[in-house]
């Protein structure tokens, strides 16, 4: 990695340590959006507590002229405003980096490092002198440090004003007070420090055609465009904002222009068991329905997911994964539900899973999930995570094809049923393992009994060994069909010996790591799986590489387990890179993990340091 100060223009990480509930989020968003609007690629990650007010919170902003949108693994500029975490925040700064702190009160430990530059700003004092009211003073302190950073990083105050005007369009009185606080910080920094710092922003043209959006909002938008009409859920972090966004979009976009009636039903259920039940009831009855939840909700939904699999009822479930097990760390990210979702529920069950890597895929895969669920008549789980779901990501602007029409699958019309001698729900009339389906209220000849108990291919109750197996085997045939319909894995292969496999939100970290490894002389191919079941391309990639690193964000190597269970890959050649701290993986972690393994291999006596 580059170390000379001059090269840090548009290439550094800054981190802001505050206390939650003080309004720092709006200041951080303002900073990030200002950088984005300067045309410089930027990543923002919010590490917040599961708490309303008073616990430590951090916001990490990475600026990358190369467009690397993962954590780099180092922090060059720290704004340390939380006394509780001050010592560790100071420790985290890379040598040669900068510390901004509130010099209103003395910090005895602040000189504990000689290898960083310390910049004291009397934020509290300035705000106390210039604003009235405790709450206002606290809020303005945040905007004030944004002003300091604007000066230090060479951000354009006019651009920031524009953003404030956009944010507070409906409350214009806030624009002036915010601008005043911004200017206080800006002027103080200009007066006391040599601005800008060597790590600064220079406008570029690299964000044109891009948007900054979080994955939950993007997924909600996907549901709107897919034509979903029934949304049932139980509040749980970090999925809540997905449902809030859906409701918000629908209340603007789905009102009957004449009557004002709502072309959607939004149901806050009594728990996750009811939420998934409502989704099944609505889907069974011909509406596009979905729920959003996180790990604990998936655990509760297991029984109904098994019913949906066996009785062949479509459903779309968004699992915005957080840290488990149990309640875990609700505001930290993980990929810990891969196995729980793939095989949710007792008995022989398996579910179609989609793995978006960013908000753009949350949008497209949301729509795709409904098509797959209805085509395959089975639940489709979209496994996002807190990092994608709740952080704003820079991604190419979404597009929509107006030619799109929902694929409602093999639902028989009234006329089709009329022509049938007799309708049988669970036959395989087309040889793809997918039966015909009817909706209630259409035709009495289409009526059938939906049950989770043993049933024959004609839909009747059974305890007969053969009749039971016929249906179970046909479900497996349907699973083979699913393999051909789900999104392909993305593969970048040049016939190298080493392959790296990832899933979901770690994509950008892997891409940067690949470039860094190449610079170290280690060339590797790359595959990102995007769906379960795995297609034959996954099988092939694993077969073609002698050594395969599997990077994922859980302790138990769940993706690696899935790969060994569902493909013919030789287990020994899969090496795990496991990151499960609750923070998104950095590119540095991957580079170090790969290099350590390769070093271990070259000194043959030494056992592998990573993996298994």
């Amino acid at each position: 990695m580059a170390t000379s100060a001059a090269s840090r223009i548009n290439d550094f990480t800054l981190k802001i340590a505050t206390v939650n509930g003080t309004g720092s989020a709006s200041a951080n968003t303002l900073l990030m959006k200002s950088i984005f609007r300067s045309g410089v690629p930027v990543m923002g990650k919010n590490y917040f507590p599961s708490n309303i007010q008073g616990l430590p919170t951090w916001y990490e902003i990475r600026v990358s002229r190369e467009g690397h949108l993962a954590r780099s693994g180092s922090v060059e500029l720290m704004v340390a405003l939380n006394p509780e975490t001050y010592a560790r925040d100071v420790r985290e700064i890379a040598p040669g980096g900068y510390l901004v702190y509130d010099s209103t009160w003395p910090r005895p430990v602040l000189l504990s490092r000689a290898d960083i530059t310390v910049l004291g700003v009397p934020l509290a004092r300035m705000c106390n002198e210039n604003f009235d009211g405790v709450r206002t003073r606290i809020l303005m302190k945040n905007i004030c440090y944004a002003g300091v950073l604007a000066a230090l990083l060479n951000l354009d105050p006019a651009r920031m004003r524009g953003l404030l005007e956009q944010t507070y369009a409906k409350r214009p009185q806030l624009i002036e007070s915010n601008m005043k606080a911004l200017q206080l910080g800006f002027d103080y920094a200009r007066e006391h420090f040599s601005c800008p710092l060597p790590l600064a922003i220079e406008p570029m043209e690299r964000t044109a055609g891009h948007i900054m959006i979080d994955g939950n909002t993007a997924a909600a938008l996907g549901c709107v465009f897919a034509g979903a009409t029934v949304a049932a859920w139980y509040p749980i972090t970090p999925s809540t904002s997905l449902m809030d966004a859906f409701k918000g979009f629908c209340e603007r976009l789905r009102l009957d222009p004449h009557s004002g009636r709502k072309r959607f039903a939004f149901i806050q259920a009594e728990d996750e068991l009811a939420a998934i039940g409502m989704v099944l009831g609505a889907s069974w009855n011909g509406a596009r329905a979905f729920t959003a939840t996180s790990g604990p909700g998936i655990s509760l939904m297991n029984e109904f997911l098994g019913l949906a699999y066996y009785a062949e009822v479509p459903a779309v479930v968004f699992d915005v994964q957080r840290v488990g097990p149990s309640t875990g760390m609700p505001t930290r990210t993980q990929q810990g539900d891969l196995l729980a979702c793939a095989y949710a529920s007792h008995g022989d069950t398996r579910h179609v899973c989609l793995y978006p890597a960013d908000p753009a895929e949350c949008f497209t895969m949301a729509a795709e999930a409904f098509d797959l669920a209805e085509r395959l008549q089975t639940p489709v789980l979209v496994l996002s995570d807190l990092d994608i779901g709740m952080n704003d990501w820079m991604c190419p602007e979404f597009h929509w094809d107006d030619a799109y029409r929902p694929d409602r699958g093999k639902v028989l019309s009234r006329e089709q049923i009329e022509k049938l001698d007799k309708f049988h729900r669970y036959l395989d009339p087309d040889g793809d393992g997918i039966p015909w389906r009817t909706l209630p209220g259409v035709h009495p000849k289409g009526a059938y009994f939906t049950r989770g108990s043993g049933h024959t291919q004609f839909g009747a109750y059974t305890e007969d060994a053969h009749d039971y197996q016929v249906v179970l085997d046909r479900l497996m045939k349907k699973w083979q069909t699913a393999k051909t319909l789900v999104p392909r894995a993305l593969i970048e292969s040049a016939g190298r010996e080493i392959g790296i496999v990832s899933v979901g939100s770690t994509d950008s970290a892997v891409r940067e790591a690949l470039a860094l490894l190449a610079a170290e002389g280690v060339a590797a191919d790359y595959m990102r799986v995007r769906a379960f079941p795995f297609g034959e391309e996954v099988e092939r990639f694993l077969a073609e590489h002698a050594l395969v690193f599997v990077l994922e964000q859980n302790r138990d190597a769940q993706l690696r387990s899935l790969l060994t269970l569902e493909t013919a890959v030789e287990k020994a050649k899969l090496r795990s890179l496991l990151h499960y701290s609750g923070l998104p993986v950095s590119s540095r972690f991957i580079v170090e993990g790969v290099l350590a393994e390769l070093r271990g291999r070259s000194s043959a006596a030494q056992p592998s340091a990573v993996g298994a």
Binding site: G281, A289, P444
Partner: protein
């Protein structure tokens, strides 16, 4: 047993309803319950009520959970879709189904275990939402399929077949429903079809959540001396408070009621319920009084039956009114009305640029 086909021979002289259908059109598969089971009588009452209402079979949706009672939805109206959910979770399936298509008639059949133990939460919340459905409990105070354990509706002091005495107070669905704001609350007895059929007709037509708790003795596990849910005990101790006659829209009232005895309540679709009180002091439109009367009878070991409470105005908003959904079912809205399109997307995304 459901795999035995019933003969579908129809005698030409069988009476037909307004749709030209005989009662046979409202039957289902052959029951697999024990001979003499109260549930089979309720099934027969449902067949009769649906036939009398001239329901289009495909416009009925049958929902159930798990247990003996929940099996019965296979035994009536074979021309209707049925959904046998997981144990205790029928109300959520009903909620979703109803959300998707408000035009159909939703009939949930559940048991005391399915409703009052594993499914208590969902039952309560369906009432809170005033979901437009008839929820019928086939209440026998006992778990049948697992062979005779007490359920949550078992009365204090009742004795199990194997001799154990129940020492926990029951959860009474009628009192619970009254407390939670249900707009139609009734109790019946599987052995009194004359009372039950009009209750089912009225419950199916009522807009909002209608509960009928039907005492339905289990001949195998709860029909012995010492049980408070046996046929003998129930016959002795059930006390009709209000008879409810259901009168379809535009049909004349043919019965002569004594002055002051009957009170007519109009439903939203023009049909009517005529309430006949057996005790002139009882007011079935007074929620608090109805609850007190049920409680007081229960204290003396008796079951007050009939249409115990009816919100005469149907004023409480049902699920779709609360959600302000259109009259047209959500599952029938054309895609063009649901998607903002490519141009709409560009507009939406402007604030994310």
């Amino acid at each position: 047993m459901t795999f035995i086909a019933k003969p579908k021979l129809t005698h030409p002289s069988l009476p037909q309803n307004a749709l030209g259908l005989t009662r046979r059109a409202y039957e289902g598969a052959l029951s697999t319950l024990c001979a003499g089971c109260g549930h089979d009588s309720i099934t027969a009452a449902i067949v009769e009520a649906c036939w009398r209402l001239s329901l289009e079979p495909q416009n009925l949706v049958k929902l159930s959970g798990i247990g003996c009672s929940s099996k019965t939805t296979a035994y009536f109206v074979s021309g209707a879709h049925g959904f046998n959910a997981v144990h205790g979770r029928m109300p959520s399936i009903a909620t979703g189904a109803n959300a998707a298509n408000r035009r159909l008639t939703y009939l949930g059949v559940s048991g005391d275990g399915d409703t009052l133990s594993i499914g208590l939460g969902q039952f309560c919340h369906a009432i809170r939402r005033n979901l437009d459905m008839l929820y019928l409990i086939e209440n026998n105070g006992v778990y049948g399929l697992t062979k005779g354990q007490f359920s949550a509706s078992a009365d204090l002091g009742t004795r199990a077949k194997k001799g154990e005495t129940n020492l926990q107070p029951p959860i009474d669905p009628v009192l619970l429903a009254l407390d939670l704001g249900a707009t139609f609350v009734a109790r019946g007895f599987s052995g009194d079809k004359r009372q039950l059929v009009p209750l089912i007709e009225a419950g199916l037509k009522h807009r909002g959540f209608a509960l009928i708790d039907v005492l339905s003795p289990c001949v195998t596990f709860n029909d012995h001396e010492g049980s408070t849910k046996s046929y003998a005990y129930t016959r002795e101790h059930y006390e009709p408070a209000v008879f409810a006659d259901f009168v379809p829209r535009e049909a004349p009232i043919l019965v002569d009621y004594a002055p002051g005895e009957a009170r007519e309540v109009a439903l939203h679709d023009g049909s009517r319920i005529v309430l006949r009180k057996t005790d002139s002091d009882y007011d079935p439109t007074d929620r608090a009084a109805a609850g007190a009367a049920v409680q007081s009878r229960m204290n003396s070991g008796e079951y007050l039956t009939g249409l115990i409470y009816l919100d005469p105005s149907e004023a409480r908003a049902e699920f779709h009114q609360v959600n302000a959904t259109p009259d047209e079912p959500l599952n029938a809205l054309p895609y063009e009305q649901l998607s903002p399109g490519a141009q709409g997307l560009r507009k939406i995304l402007s604030r994310y640029r």
